[in-house]
Each structure stands twice: as C-alpha cells, then as structure tokens.
Symmetry: C2
Subunit: 653 residues, 2 copies
C-alpha cells in the first residue's frame, strides 16, 4: 500500500483520493501484511513470531533465481541420492531373513532395481519434455486420467512426503547412532527435535538456494565415492575375492515372496527421483534440456552409488545389523575409526536431513494445488508473511511427528508404507504420460509412449508387490490412508461445488443477481439488546437511531420487579427508543433474546432484522476472559438464522 | 418464554403483541435455555451433552427442600466426620518420628485437639445466630474486616476446597488399598477417575438431597461406633490394659516442634466443621435453632469418634504404617478379615467420596460470591442448564487433579497445605465475628464475643503452627497461593472498577448520557469489502444501500490486471455502488483493507464507518474449517479501532 490507491472516478467522497496508511510506515503495514496459521496478530504474539521467524517478505521475493545445473543437481537430487543410505539396507534386511541363501540373491535383486531406476528415469525424461512448467504426479494424473486418479496420486504423494521426512530422519539418526551407540535410546526425542527444527526453519522460510544446499549432497557423493574406490582398491589387492560372510541363521525359507519383498524394499533407494521433473521452470533456459541433462546425471550417480554399495557389501561379506548401518560397517572397514569414518557418517546424516527438508517444499505445494482445485480447505492457499505455506508446513510436521513416534523411529518398519505411497504416485504419473502421448501422437510419440509404458508397468509392479507382500507389515495403513484421503477429498469438492452453485449469481443476467433483495425492497428493523443503561448500550442505541430505521430495545429480566425497575430507569433516561422487556424464568439471557428475535422473524418474514449488539472492546485477552461474552454468544447463536444481520458497536475503554 | 411477553404500550409494531417461540415447543426452547462452560450448543455437541448430563433444569428447581435435622446432620457433616479417617493418622504419623516416646504424646495432643474442636464448634454456634442467611468465612470476613481480609479468607477457602477433594480422595483410596494392597500402584489413575466421576456427576447437577447422601455418613458413624465398642469390650476383657507397642526407632528427638506439628496435622480431623454455619437457610424453621442443635450433635459425634479412635490406638498399641491405615489396623484387630472389616473400609471410602463431593457445592458458591463482588471473572456467575455452576466445577476438578498428581495421591504430604488453608479461613471468620459482636454489642454480646475470641485465637494458633513448622513441607505453597490469589483478585477488581467507571453514564444527568453521540450527529459511511461478485456480496451490498447511507465497495487485488478485470465485472453488473480497488503487492487481503479503513478514519474522524462484511453461514464446523475465515479475521482486526461498526450479513447456503 505504499502506492496510494486512487479512486477510479469522481465520487461523492472527493476528499478520499489520496489515501495513505494512517499512523504507521509502510514497513509496519508490511509487518501486518500476511497472517498465516491463524495466529493472534496483536501484541506479544507478533513480537514472539518476529523473534522466531524474522520480518515478513514481500511477494516479489518469491521470484526465484534460475539454477545452474551444478547447483540444481545437488539441490534437486538430495532426496534421491540420499535414498541409497537406506535402500540397499532395506533390501538386505529382508534377504537376511533367508540366511546366507537369501543374501545370495542380493546381486540379482539389485540388478532388477538398477533396471527399474533406469526405466523410471527414462520415463521422467519424457515428462520433462511434455510438462516444461512442472509435471508433478498430481498434475499429470489429473490432466490425463481424471479427477479420481489425480486425487489417488495426490494421496500417494502425501504419504510419500510424510514418509520422506520420517524415513530420512530415522535413517539419518541411524547414521548417527552407528557412530555413537549411546544415543540409541534417545532416537525418538532426537527425531522429534529434528522435525521441530525443520518446522521452525521452514516457517521462517528457508529458500532452496545456493551453496548451503549444494554442499551436503556433494559431500555425500564424495563420501560414497571415496568409500567405493578405497573398497575396490582393497578388494583388488586380494584379487577381488569376496570375504566370507559370517554365518547367518535363516528364519524363513528363500522363496519368490522373500525375493519380491526384498525387491520392493530396495526400490526405496530411488525415492525422490521425480524431483527434477517437478522443478523444470527453476532451470536456466533452455529449461527442459538442462533439466534432462541434470536428470541424466542424477540417475547415473544414483545407479553408480547403489551398485557400488551393493558390490562392496558382496565383496566384504557384510551382513545387516540392527545396531549399525551397512554404510557404517563399510566405512569402518575402509577407514577404520578415523576422521574419514566420521566424515562419512556426518555427510550421510546431513544429506538425509536436507532430503527431509525437500518434503517441506513439496508437501505444501501439493496441498496448494489440491486447495486450488478445492479438494482440501482453502487455508492451504494462504501464504504466511515469510512466503511459506505455514498451514501445510505445520500439518506435515504433525503428521511426520505422529508417524515417527508411532513407529519408534525405526527405519525398517517405515519402509513398506513408504514404498506403497511412492510407487503409487509413480505409476499414476507414468500412466498419465502414456495417455498424454496417445492423445497427442506428435512426432516421436512411439518412443516416448514406450518409455513411459515401461516406467508405468515397472512402477506398477513395485507398487503391487509392496502392497500385497507387505500388506500386513504396514502397507494396509498406506492403502487405508489413500482411500480415505480420496473419499474425503471428493466430499470436500462436492461441498465446494454445492456452495459455489448456491452463491453464484444467475448466469447470463448479471443485473438480476440482486433480484431477490433489491435495496428498495428491504424493510429494516433494528433490535438493540440492552442489559443495563451505560455508555456502551447508549452508543449502540444512538447508532441504531442514526440508521433511520425503526428501533426496538430489548431487555431481559429475571423477575417482574427488576423489569419494572429497569423500565423506570428507561423513562428517566428519556425513553428515546421503545423498550421491550422479556421476562426470563430461566437464568439465560441469550436464549430468550434469540427466541424473541426468531418469533419476530416468523411473524414478519419480510423484515430484515438488524441486531445491534453493544460490546466492550477490551485491549487484552485476559480482560476479555474476565467479562461476560454475551455479545459473541449472541452473535454465534444468531448466525444460523436467515435474514438477520448482526452489527457490533464497540465501546473502547 | 412459555408466557408471551407483552408490549408495555402501543408501538408502531402493533402486530408483535403475541410473541411465541417460532418453530419449536417450549421444551426445545428450554433445552437451549442455558449454555454453560462455553461449549458449542449446536448439533452433535448438544446431543453428547444431553446424553451425559441429561435434560436442563428450570430455575424454579433451584428452590430446595428444607432439611429435617436427621437429614441435615449426615448431609452437612459428611465432610467433618469423615476427617477422623485421616486426622488421627496424620497426628500419629508425625509423632512416630519421635519413636515410642513420640507416640506417648498422642493422648495429650488429642486432648488439645478435642478442646480445639469444642472451641471452634462453640464459635460457629455464634455465627449461626448472627448470620441466619448463611455465614461463610468470606462473607463474615468481608463484612466485618474489609475487602482484603475477605479476599484472604476466600483464598483460604479455595485451597481448603481443593484439598478437601484431594485429601478425601487420597484417604478414601488409602482405605481401599489397605484392604486390597495390589491396588497400591494404581492410586494416581484411580484418584483421577474419582475426580472425573465427581466432575461428571456435578455437571449433571447432583443435588444434596435425601437418603442417598445420608446413608454413607450414618454407615460410617455406625462402623466407627461398632469398632470402638468392640474394641472397648475386648480391652475390658483384659482390664483395659494397653497392649505393648511394637518397638519403633525414633528418627528425630521429641521436642516442642514435633508436638506442635503433630497438633496441627491432627487438627485436620475437624475440617468441614464450618459446613452447618454456611447452610442455615436449608434448615426447617426455626432455622438457627435447628442448625445449632445439629451443630451440637455433629461436634459431639466428632469429638466422640476422634476420642474413641485415639483411645483404641492407645489400648491396642497401634503404630502408623504407610501400607495400611490406622482405621484398617483397628478394624482388622476388632473384626478380623470378615464382612465387618470390609464394611468398615467400604463405609470409610464412601463417606470420604461424599466429603469430596461437598467441596463441589461449596467451591463454585465461593467463586459465585467472588464474581458478584468482581474479584474473579464474571463467568462464575453463570449457571449451566442443570443449575450447576459449570465453570467453577470444572476449575475445581482441574485444580484437584493437578494437586493429586503432583503429590502422587499421598495423603500425608497433602496435610500441611490443607491445615494452612482451613485454619486461615477459620481464623478470619472468627475474627470477623469478634468485630461483629463488638460493633453490635447487643444483649449477651460478652458471652458471644468471648466464645468467638477463643475460637479465633485457637484457630490462629493452629494456622501459625502449621504455616511455620511445616513451611518447607508444603505450607509455603499454600502461602504463595493465598498471597497470589489476593493480589490477582485485587487487580481484577481494579480492572472492573475502571471499566465500570468508563462505561458509566454521567451521574445526575441521565439525559446527557448520549451527549457525545446523539443520533443526529452521527454521520455514517458504509464500506463493503467485496472479493468476488456472488450472491453473498450482492446481498451485503443491497443491505448496505438499504441503510440509506453512502456506500463504498472495496476490492483488494494482487495485480493491476486482475483489478481491471474485476472493474469490468463491476461495470457489467451495473455499478450500483462506487467501487474502490486496492492493489496489494502483498499476499494479504485483510491487512490492506484494515489499512484503508484506518486511513479513511484518520482523514474523516467525524464519520462512523460501518464495515459490512458478507459472510457465508455454514451449518457445520467442518464446513467452516474448509473456507476462508477472512470475515472473522477482518472483524477481529477491526475490533481495536474506534468509531468503526462491524456488520455481518450472512448468506445461508
């Protein structure tokens, strides 16, 4: 509002042309600019928020820098690359149930997963070209498959993002507790502390920018690269002979089910692979080409790191251990206990924390898109004054905290839920792409459609395997959430459609919009509830009379005598307004007032009743707690009645 | 409202004479009659409350039956008589610290306590005659000593009632766990369950009435009488020779401090002795005489039961034990493990539960009196629809629950707090009576004043002993609470006085009351914030125009282009009202609107601005959660501004 609004044309308020904020600089106004999360804006509240979250941002700050590929790669691939910290481990944790024979399957299963990475990666290359403005699963599925598949994809994404936070934090803490075992018992409070840090940071509005976000990813890539190289040199020294595995007792037989479960668990090593296709507009021009090159690099790195880790595990005869991660075991073997070991663990923990943070950008964006399409509450459309979607950030933190506590911060038990959500979204997104190419059938559509079809089918296989083989291990919960979310989303959309229909002006004839109530047809009657005669009530009465409509004062009395006494006061005051005294044999004041107004409405339905409520405007919340809240109770009680307008006349004391 | 209110004189709305509740029987109206505890009245909320608490009562139900003495005695003395379940035990628990030598002091200390009972009892006989309409400590102290002593007495009463609940429940559970030791570890959850039952029962509105409340007291009196008689017969069999006490190691020397502490702890055996003097109007005529007779009976029973228990303890060589109450040990010795033992424990637990319940009648009444004198929030004046003071009941339950959990449901550690609160209130009440008789100096005033002086001095001694000797053992907390409560009460009173002064009409010249704003001096301008053109906004605009004041529509737009587009819609609609478009470079809609209105007010301070807010009135809370709450945020933000009237025009969909 630093630019004074100008009246569009001469009006009867000629003096209003230059309106400037009164008593307060533009900055102050800005400070009150946004008001996210329904927090109290006044007094102490604002000061605490400023202290925690800093001054507000202007909307113009939202225009982000375009990213160079060397920055985009670490920023957008932190989520995907960090997944190799838990993906291989999740696969091995299933295979070890089959003992040595089970672990023997790790190479073939890994080859299948690497193939899947390539297939899905190639698939997303197509998405980048087709949706240069950003093609998240929700958008692609909605545009090509329709409303319900889009909602299902969104439900998949919601579980995906919640579990990205929880799994990344759980796995990051695994990296920490591998190095410092004494912290093992404190995993749940530590995880909650991490979520609190992410919450506070994102409410402040962390921007995905520059070196800060690039460093951990590069540090992690470097750590894994070093580890693999040192490990391979070691192995080369003994002629690449695999060290013998310690004997492991099989707790179940090696069957197709075990292998499939290991495959779907290991596939979580590719979660986050879709990030680049969502963020194409953030690249420098030519956006889609740069995004594709970055995606190629990311998939290449992902496959290389995944393969390197699996090969090292094979060569060193590593067996998964619930007290120490596989990565920690490998790092110990390569680097001993020295600084390089600590560096590896720290880089792992850090990249996982940053991976968790990416969900804080993606989750509120999905909710924003859902709110725009009216599948969720419209509060998710509102940005806080730090340009962050505070409501979405808070909801994500709460959900992640609940899931983290419910699963005790245990990575392994979170994996089934994760796989279901992620691959459901992947499948619907790729299916949407198949439909997209089929509809378009532009040049080269056959290549594109086949890549997407392969991606879709392989994602669908992982989804089905995860949902079926792990149904009892937690996947059922993901299914319930997806179905529940979809149903609730559709119900909310129906509500919004009904309301939209109800409030729409008659189409085609905008002049008729007010036909039901043209101003000249409205007959008004003002009612002023008066409990005692004081400055507040007299002000309300004066205002009512100034409206030049008939006014009736209403007094509720417990007994006839007290009513008579009030009538005498009224006469002494001058009886400027006709007074109606209601005797209430009950203790209530609000209810008889409502009943009176209702019956008045029933008798004279053509009247618009304006209830003018005197109210004390008190400065502090504790003052408001001390006084009767009759005014607000009256307002709430009158809200459901039609043709009743409630006016509050405040007296400031 | 079953009786239609009649217009006092012919008005211009002649047709309004017979007003009846529209659409709804008188019962329905009654159901909405009260609305306590700020709970949501609509829909599910009401149904749940009805299910839990039953249908509402009429005010007329508040006229209670007068009580016969045989009913009044058990009802009003449950609190006092049940105190012998923990009083002697509390005394012995202190004396046992001095070993056998310490326990040797139990008879002299008991004699002192019995004297105290008689002195305080005689004192309250005077109060009954002087305050036949009920003379609680707060009333007596306020009327005779002034505002601050009255508040201090009220603070004493507040701690008294909170601790009556906690100590009675803790002691009742002691009786239960003495019989069933396996429940020992579940004391805290059991205690919270008891508080929850008392809360629910009192929100329903338990009435102090009839056989239900008389039974447990008589049962308890019978149990103690049986126990004492059987014990005495046993002792008579061996020539009243005391059994040898098991040797007890002294943990500290027997000094005056120990004896005084034992005396003040044992004095809790007379808590609740004031109950009859509070309830004189509940007796049949002649009220004060019947009340006195009942008081005599109660004090006699109290002294007899207390003395009987102490004598039995002496004769049987009982030593207090943290796993079993003294009463349970005595009952075991008399009755073995048979049904009589179970009956004794059950009667004890039950009478203590009913004693806890009496605090639920007294605590809200004190808060009511304090609220009437404006020392606490006026919400404590409001009765729920079951004629109970719901706010006070809820506050008492919360406080009792917090204290119970904080002290782990341990009776012994609660006693010091209890003694301080009770005897502070006693002392101030008796001091007030001394002043009362001195001022009056009617016939026989010398006898009365001397009784009250003795009561006052002995109560003061107990209060000082408890406060000083147990300062570190919990009495400090009681002192902090009393001082804090008094200060807060005075601050609240000051606030109410200030507000009362601010809203008072100029005294002596009631016609001048509206001098500051006579209706003809008010110049109005209506402002209608319009986000889009729909039925809700058009209705608000039509209403605004119907008020026959100048109207200005206000639209906030994020960009110039969108603003221009809206202006075109506005023209297409017919431009019935001048439109002002504010460009907001920020995301906020509410803040620029406020800033605009503020600046308008600064430019034209003589205008009363009526902000007419279109609002969707939605039926269910979850629907309201789905929509923008811009209307209510606007209302809240406008509240602190002066000369601004906020009007809500609802559209029901």
């Amino acid at each position: 509002l630093h630019r004074p609004p100008e009246l569009p044309e001469p009006t009867r308020w000629g003096r209003l042309v230059h309106v400037r904020p009164a008593g307060g600089s533009a900055d102050e106004l800005e400070a009150r600019g946004g008001d996210g999360a329904g927090l109290d804006l006044r007094g102490v509240g604002v000061r605490i928020r400023r202290l925690l979250f800093g001054p507000p941002f202007r909307s113009s700050a939202i225009v982000r820098e375009r990213m160079r590929k060397s920055v985009a790669l670490p920023v957008l691939s932190a989520d995907a690359l960090s997944s190799v910290a838990y993906g291989p481990e999740a696969m091995l944790a299933i295979l070890v149930l089959g003992g040595g024979a089970g672990l023997g399957w790790s190479v073939p299963v890994s080859v299948a997963i690497a193939f899947l990475m390539l297939a899905v990666g190639l698939s997303y290359r197509q998405t980048i070209r087709a949706y240069p403005h950003g093609g998240g699963s929700y958008i692609v599925a909605t545009r090509n498959l329709g409303r319900v598949p889009g909602l299902v994809a969104a439900a998949g994404l919601i579980t995906d993002y919640v579990l990205t936070v929880t799994v990344s934090i759980a796995s990051g803490l695994d990296a920490v507790t591998s190095a410092i075992p004494s912290l093992h018992s404190a995993v749940v409070p530590l995880g909650l502390a991490m979520i609190a840090i992410l919450l506070a940071g994102n409410l402040r509005g962390i921007r995905q920018a520059g070196a800060l976000f690039a460093a951990p990813t590069y540090a992690f890539i470097l750590a894994i690269a070093l580890m693999v190289i040192v490990g391979l040199i070691d192995a080369a020294g003994r002629g690449f002979e695999a060290l013998p595995r310690p004997p492991v007792a099989a707790t179940q037989g090696v069957g197709i089910l075990l292998v499939l479960r290991a495959f779907s668990s290991g596939s979580t090593a590719m979660t986050g692979i879709e990030a680049i296709s969502n963020a194409v507009p953030a690249f420098k021009p030519v956006e889609w080409r740069n995004a594709r090159i970055t995606l190629d690099w990311m998939v290449g790195l992902l496959v290389a790191m995944f393969a390197g880790i699996v090969v090292l595990v094979e060569l060193n005869g590593i067996v998964p251990d619930s007290n120490q991660t596989v990565l920690s075991q490998l790092a110990h073997r390569d680097f001993g206990n020295g600084p390089l070991y600590v560096y590896t663990q720290a880089a792992t923990a850090l990249v996982l924390l940053f991976a968790a943070n990416t969900a804080y950008n993606d989750f509120p964006r999905v909710l924003f898109l859902l709110a725009r399409d009216r599948f969720v509450s419209s509060r998710y459309l509102r940005m806080g004054d730090r340009l962050a979607f505070n409501h979405g950030i808070i909801v994500l933190s709460l959900l992640a905290a609940v899931v983290f506590v419910a699963f005790g911060g245990n990575t392994a038990s979170l994996i089934p839920l994760f796989a279901v959500g992620v691959f459901l979204a992947f499948t619907l997104s790729q299916a949407g792409m198949v439909v997209h190419w089929w509809r378009l059938r532009g040049p080269g559509w056959r290549t594109s459609i086949s890549f997407n079809a392969v991606g879709c089918i392989s994602s669908a296989i992982v989804f089905l395997v995860a949902a079926i083989t792990k149904f009892t291990a937690g996947a059922w919960l993901a299914c319930v959430i997806v179905v529940g979310f979809t149903v609730v989303g559709l119900l909310i959309r129906r509500h919004f459609d009904q309301v939209g229909h109800a409030v729409a002006l008659t189409p085609g004839a905008p002049q008729d919009g007010e036909a039901e109530d043209t101003p000249s047809e409205i007959s008004n009657l003002a009612i002023v509830p008066v409990s005692t005669l004081n400055r507040a009530t007299v002000r309300a009465l004066a205002y009512a009379v100034s409206l030049r409509m008939p006014v009736l004062a209403l007094h509720v009395t417990p007994t006839e005598e007290e009513g008579e006494r009030f009538r005498q006061y009224w006469r002494a005051w001058g009886e400027h307004v006709p007074l109606e005294v209601i005797e209430s044999p009950y203790r209530a004041v609000v209810a008889p007032t409502i009943a009176y107004i209702e019956s008045l409405h029933a008798q004279r339905p053509e009247l618009t009743l304006t209830v003018i409520v005197p109210e004390l405007a008190l400065r502090h919340w504790w003052q408001r707690r001390l006084h009767d809240d009759d005014a607000s109770r009256l307002r709430r009680a009158l809200e459901p009645l039609s043709k009743i307008v409630v006016t509050t006349v405040p007296l400031h004391v």
